[in-house]
C-alpha cells in the first residue's frame, strides 16, 4: 500500500541493525545488561506497588500509619443537617482519642449500598457504615458485615431497636437512633384534636376535603408500600413472618394484605378524602401549604414541619383501626452502624471505642436533642433530659404501636414485589384479591433470582 514508506522503513531497519557496530563479544554484555535493567525495573515496580499496597489496603489492612494513628472510615447516606451533628461527634471523639482518625463520607441514596458492595469486592470498603436497618439483610447475605456483639454490649439497647437488625439471632448493627416510623401530623388551624380512630380520621378528613378548591383532608404517599404496612398490621398481618430459627417467609398473600389494600383504595375511590394521585413530594407540599388538614409522614420530617408550621403543627400516633380495634402499626427501625466483616485486627479496638462512644449516655441524649430522633439505649430514653423533651415524646408514643422492620433480604424482595402491584391496585387496574397473589408470586421469584 505504501511502497515508498515500506522501502524507507526497511532501509531504516537495516540501517539500525547495520549501524550498531556490534562485535560479537560485546553483544552478550549488552543483552544481559538490558536483562538486568528489566529485572531492576521489576524490583522497582515491586517496591512501588508494595508501598501502594500499604496505602491502598489501609481500610482493611494491617497498617498503622505514622505516629501509630489508626484511621477508620465511616460511610453514610445522611442529609447535611445530620452529618453536621455526626461530624461534631467525630471531632469530640478524636479529640479524646488523638491516635484515632475517623474519615466520614456521604453517598446519596442507593449509592451507599452499591458503593459498599463494589468496594468490598476489592477490599476497599469502609470499616463502618451508618445507615438504615434494611442494609443489614443484604450485607449479611453477602457476608460483608459481622455481628456487633463482640464490639458493644447489646443489652443496653431497647429491645425493639436491637430487634430490627437481628438476623439468625445475631445483632448485625449497632443501634444509634430508633424510629424512622410514620406518624400522623395535623394542622391545628384545621383540625383541633388528633383523631383516635380511623373512623374519626375519615370523618375529620371529609369535613376538610373540597376537591374544587384543591383542599384535602388527608394526604400521604398512597402508592408506596411503606405507607400501606401500618394498615396491614392493624388488620392482623405482616409482610414477613420469622420463625424461631430466624428464617423469614414472605406472606403477602394474606387476608390482612387484601383488606389493607381495599381500605386504602376505598379512601380514594369511595370516601374520596385523599387525592386521586399523590406522591411523597405532593403530600408534603400540600400539607406545608396548608391545603391538607392531615398527613402521614415519618419522624424525619418533624424538624422541617416544625420549622415551617410552628405552633400550627400537631403530632399524634397513627389512629386505631375502627374495623379491628387495633392500632395502625408503622414499621420502626432506625439508624445503625454496621461493621465490615473484613476489618483488620489493629482497627478493632478503635472501632470498639467509637461505637462505645456513639452509644454512650451523653451522645444518645444528644440524639434526641440535636437529631430529633429517639435514642436507642434504655438509659438515655429514661434520662430526665429526654423525658422532659416535648419534641420527642410524640415520636416515642407513635413508635410504641410500631413493629420492628424486618432486616432480612426477604423484606427487600417484598418491597419490590409490592410497589408495582400496589400502584396498579390504587389506579383500579386490578383487584386486591388478584393483586396479593401477584405480589406473593413476584416476591418469591425475586428471591429466587437473587440466588441465581
Amino acid at each position: 500500500m505504501f511502497p515508498k514508506i515500506n522501502a524507507i522503513l526497511q532501509n531504516s531497519n537495516q540501517n539500525q541493525s547495520g549501524q550498531s557496530p556490534s562485535p560479537a563479544n560485546h553483544k552478550p554484555k549488552i543483552i544481559f545488561a538490558v536483562a538486568a535493567l528489566g529485572i531492576a525495573g521489576l524490583i522497582g515496580l515491586q517496591l512501588m506497588t508494595g508501598q501502594k499496597k500499604g496505602a491502598g489496603t489501609a481500610t482493611t489492612g494491617e497498617t498503622q500509619t505514622a505516629g501509630g494513628t489508626v484511621e477508620i472510615s465511616l460511610w453514610d447516606q445522611e442529609e447535611s443537617e445530620n452529618t453536621k451533628v455526626m461530624d461534631d461527634w467525630i471531632t469530640r471523639f478524636t479529640t479524646a482519642n488523638p491516635n484515632i482518625r475517623v474519615v466520614r463520607q456521604t453517598y446519596p441514596n442507593e449509592d451507599l449500598r452499591t458503593k459498599f458492595t463494589t468496594a468490598a469486592t476489592a477490599g476497599q470498603a469502609a470499616e463502618l457504615v451508618w445507615g438504615p436497618n434494611d442494609i443489614a439483610g443484604v450485607f449479611t447475605t453477602a457476608k460483608l458485615i459481622q455481628s456487633v456483639e463482640t464490639f458493644v454490649d447489646v443489652s443496653k439497647f431497647t429491645p425493639a431497636a436491637a430487634e430490627a437488625v437481628k438476623l439468625k439471632g445475631a445483632v448485625m448493627g449497632v443501634p444509634t437512633t430508633y424510629g424512622n416510623h410514620l406518624l400522623l401530623f395535623f394542622n391545628k388551624n384545621l383540625v383541633s384534636q388528633a383523631p383516635a380512630t380511623t373512623a374519626e380520621m375519615v370523618e375529620t378528613a371529609r369535613k376538610n376535603t373540597d376537591a374544587k378548591t384543591g383542599k384535602f383532608g388527608l394526604v400521604f404517599f398512597q402508592n408506596e408500600p411503606f405507607w400501606l404496612v401500618p394498615f396491614v398490621g392493624a388488620f392482623g398481618g405482616w409482610p414477613l413472618s420469622v420463625d424461631l430459627e430466624g428464617n423469614a417467609r414472605v406472606e403477602l398473600n394474606s387476608e390482612a394484605m387484601k383488606n389493607a389494600l381495599a381500605y386504602v383504595y376505598n379512601l380514594k375511590s369511595k370516601e374520596q378524602v385523599i387525592p386521586k394521585e399523590c406522591d411523597y413530594d405532593c403530600a408534603k407540599g400540600l400539607f406545608l401549604e396548608g391545603k391538607a388538614a392531615m398527613t402521614i409522614n415519618g419522624d424525619w420530617s418533624v424538624k422541617e414541619f416544625q420549622a415551617k408550621l410552628g405552633d400550627q403543627l400537631g403530632m399524634a400516633p397513627l389512629p386505631v383501626l375502627s374495623e379491628t380495634n387495633k392500632p395502625l402499626t408503622p414499621m420502626v427501625s432506625g439508624r445503625y452502624v454496621f461493621i465490615n466483616a473484613q476489618i483488620a485486627d489493629a482497627k478493632k479496638e478503635a472501632v470498639k471505642k467509637f461505637v462505645e462512644f456513639l452509644t454512650s449516655r451523653e451522645i444518645q441524649i444528644e440524639v434526641a436533642e440535636r437529631l430529633g430522633r429517639i435514642p436507642a439505649t434504655a438509659e438515655a430514653l429514661n434520662d430526665p433530659r429526654v423525658t422532659g423533651l416535648q419534641s420527642i415524646q410524640p415520636l416515642i408514643a407513635a413508635a410504641a404501636n410500631g413493629r420492628p422492620m424486618p432486616a432480612q433480604t426477604e423484606m427487600r424482595a417484598a418491597w419490590d414485589a409490592m410497589r408495582p402491584v400496589q400502584q396498579k391496585i390504587m389506579s383500579g387496574d386490578i383487584t386486591p384479591e388478584k393483586g396479593v397473589e401477584i405480589m406473593q408470586q413476584s416476591a418469591l421469584e425475586k428471591l429466587a433470582s437473587l440466588k441465581k
Partner: protein, 409 residues
C-alpha cells in the same frame, strides 16, 4: 467559603503524567529492545532468564498463584519467540506507534471482557459474594446464566424478550425522530433566512448542556404535580375545551392527552424518557445533516431547476442520495449510542419514586448487576446484549454498503 485544596491535586496530576510517561516508555522500550536484539544469539537465553526471574519474583515476593505466575512470567519469553520467528524485525514503526494505545485498550477493554466471560460461566451473586472475596473461587455453572437470561417472563417478571422488544422500540423511535427532526431543522437552516446563525446556536443548546443537568431538569418537569409538562397539558386542554351545559368537552382528552403520572406509570415513564432523549439527540443529527447539506454543490440544484424538477423531486433525487454517505455512518453510530444509552434511562428511572417497566436492556443490566448484585447473571446478560448489537450493526453495515452508489467505489 469552603476551601479548595489545589496543591495535592496538582501534585497527583504530575505524578499521573509521570506514571503515564513511565508506562508508555516501558511498553515502547520493551518493543524497541526486542526489535534491536532479536537477531542476537543470546536473545532467547536472556529472555528466558528474564522470564524465570519474573516468574520467581511473582511467586516469592508477590505471593501470586502458581499458575498465574507461570503464565505472566512466561510472557517475555513468549514475546521473544514471537519476535524471533514471526515478526523478524518487520513492522517496527507501526507497532511502536500503536503500542501505548494497545496496552491501554488491552488493560481496560480486553481484560474486562475476558473477566466478564469468566463470570458468566460461574455463579457470583449476593450469596456467594463474600466467599468469592475471601477465597477467590466461585462455582462453575456452565450455561445456566445464559439460560436464565433467555428465560421467558411471567405475569410478575419482565422477560428478556420484552425488554429487548422495548429496546428496539426505543432505538427505533429515537433514531427516527432524531433523523427526521434533525434533517428538517437542517433543511430550514440551510435556507437563506435571517438569523440562521442565532437559530443554530440556540438549537444546539440541548447538545451543549451537560447531560446530567438536562436529564435531571427534565425529570423535575415531569413531576405530576409540580412539573411544567402536566401543567402545560392541562392548560392546552382548558384552552381547547368547551362546555355544553354541564358536560365539559375536551377533544384532546379523548385521545389520552391528559396529565400523566410520569414517574410511576410505566408507559408514561417510557414516553417521558423517549421525549428527553429525542430532545437531547436532535442537535447532533441536525449538525451532521447541516454540514452534509452544505457540502452539496449548488450547481446540481440549478441544473435540476432548469429541468423543472419540483422541490420534492430535488430533495428525493439530489439531496437524499448526496447526504447519504455522511448520514448512514452517523445513523449507525447514533443507533449504537442510543441502544447503549444507560445514562438517560438510569437517571430517569433509578431514583426514589422510580418505577420498573421502562427499562431498556442496558439499564436493566446495570440494575441487575449493581442493585441486585447478580454479577454472573448480568455478565451473561451483557454478552447477549453485545452479540445482539454486533449482529445488528453487521447486518446494517452490509445492507447499507450494498445500496451505496457503485460509482463511489
Amino acid at each position: 467559603m469552603m476551601s479548595v485544596s489545589l496543591l495535592p491535586a496538582i501534585l497527583e496530576i504530575i505524578r499521573l503524567l509521570l506514571l503515564v510517561a513511565l508506562a508508555v516508555s516501558a511498553v515502547v522500550g520493551f518493543l524497541w529492545v526486542n526489535y534491536k536484539y532479536w537477531r542476537s544469539d543470546y536473545y532467547l537465553p536472556a529472555a528466558a532468564l528474564v522470564s524465570l526471574v519474573a516468574g520467581a519474583e511473582l511467586v516469592l515476593v508477590f505471593e501470586a498463584a502458581l499458575v498465574l505466575s507461570i503464565v505472566l512470567g512466561a510472557l517475555p519469553f513468549v514475546a521473544a519467540l514471537i519476535f524471533k520467528y514471526l515478526i523478524r524485525g518487520r513492522w517496527m514503526v507501526p507497532f511502536l506507534f500503536a503500542a501505548p494505545a494497545t496496552a491501554g485498550v488491552t488493560l481496560l477493554f480486553l481484560y474486562p471482557l475476558a473477566f466478564e466471560v469468566y463470570l458468566s460461566f460461574h455463579r457470583l451473586n449476593l450469596e456467594t459474594l463474600g466467599d468469592w472475596i475471601r477465597t477467590g473461587s466461585i462455582q462453575f455453572v456452565g450455561f445456566e446464566n445464559f439460560l436464565e437470561v433467555l428465560k421467558l417472563g411471567s405475569e410478575t417478571k419482565e422477560s428478556f424478550w420484552l425488554v429487548t422488544a422495548r429496546t428496539f422500540a426505543w432505538t427505533g423511535i429515537n433514531l427516527v425522530f432524531h433523523v427526521a427532526f434533525g434533517l428538517i431543522l437542517a433543511l430550514f437552516l440551510n435556507q437563506k433566512i435571517r438569523g440562521a446563525g442565532i437559530y443554530r446556536t440556540i438549537l444546539m443548546l440541548p447538545w451543549a448542556i451537560p447531560q446530567l443537568i438536562a436529564v435531571l431538569a427534565w425529570r423535575g418537569e415531569f413531576h405530576s404535580a409540580y412539573g411544567y409538562v402536566n401543567h402545560l397539558i392541562q392548560l392546552m386542554n382548558d384552552v381547547f375545551s368547551f362546555s355544553v351545559g354541564e358536560t365539559r368537552i375536551a377533544p384532546f382528552e379523548w385521545v389520552g392527552f391528559k396529565p400523566q403520572e410520569w414517574w410511576t406509570d410505566p408507559h408514561a415513564l417510557f414516553a417521558s424518557i423517549c421525549i428527553v432523549n429525542i430532545w437531547l439527540g436532535i442537535p447532533f443529527m441536525m449538525v451532521v445533516s447541516l454540514s452534509a447539506l452544505q457540502s452539496i454543490s449548488k450547481s446540481y440544484y440549478e441544473a435540476a431547476s432548469l429541468d423543472g424538477a419540483s422541490a420534492w423531486q430535488r430533495f428525493r433525487n439530489i439531496t437524499l442520495p448526496l447526504i447519504k454517505p455522511v448520514m448512514v455512518p452517523s445513523m449507525i453510530l447514533g443507533m449504537i449510542w442510543t441502544f447503549n444509552n444507560v445514562n438517560v434511562v438510569y437517571l430517569m428511572t433509578a431514583q426514589r419514586g422510580g418505577s420498573e417497566g421502562a427499562d431498556i436492556l442496558v439499564s436493566d443490566l446495570y440494575k441487575q448487576a449493581f442493585v441486585y448484585n447478580r454479577y454472573s447473571f448480568s455478565a451473561a446478560y451483557a454478552i447477549v446484549i453485545f452479540l445482539i448489537l454486533l449482529v445488528l450493526t453487521a447486518v446494517w453495515m452490509k445492507s447499507s454498503k450494498m445500496t451505496e452508489d457503485p460509482n463511489r467505489r
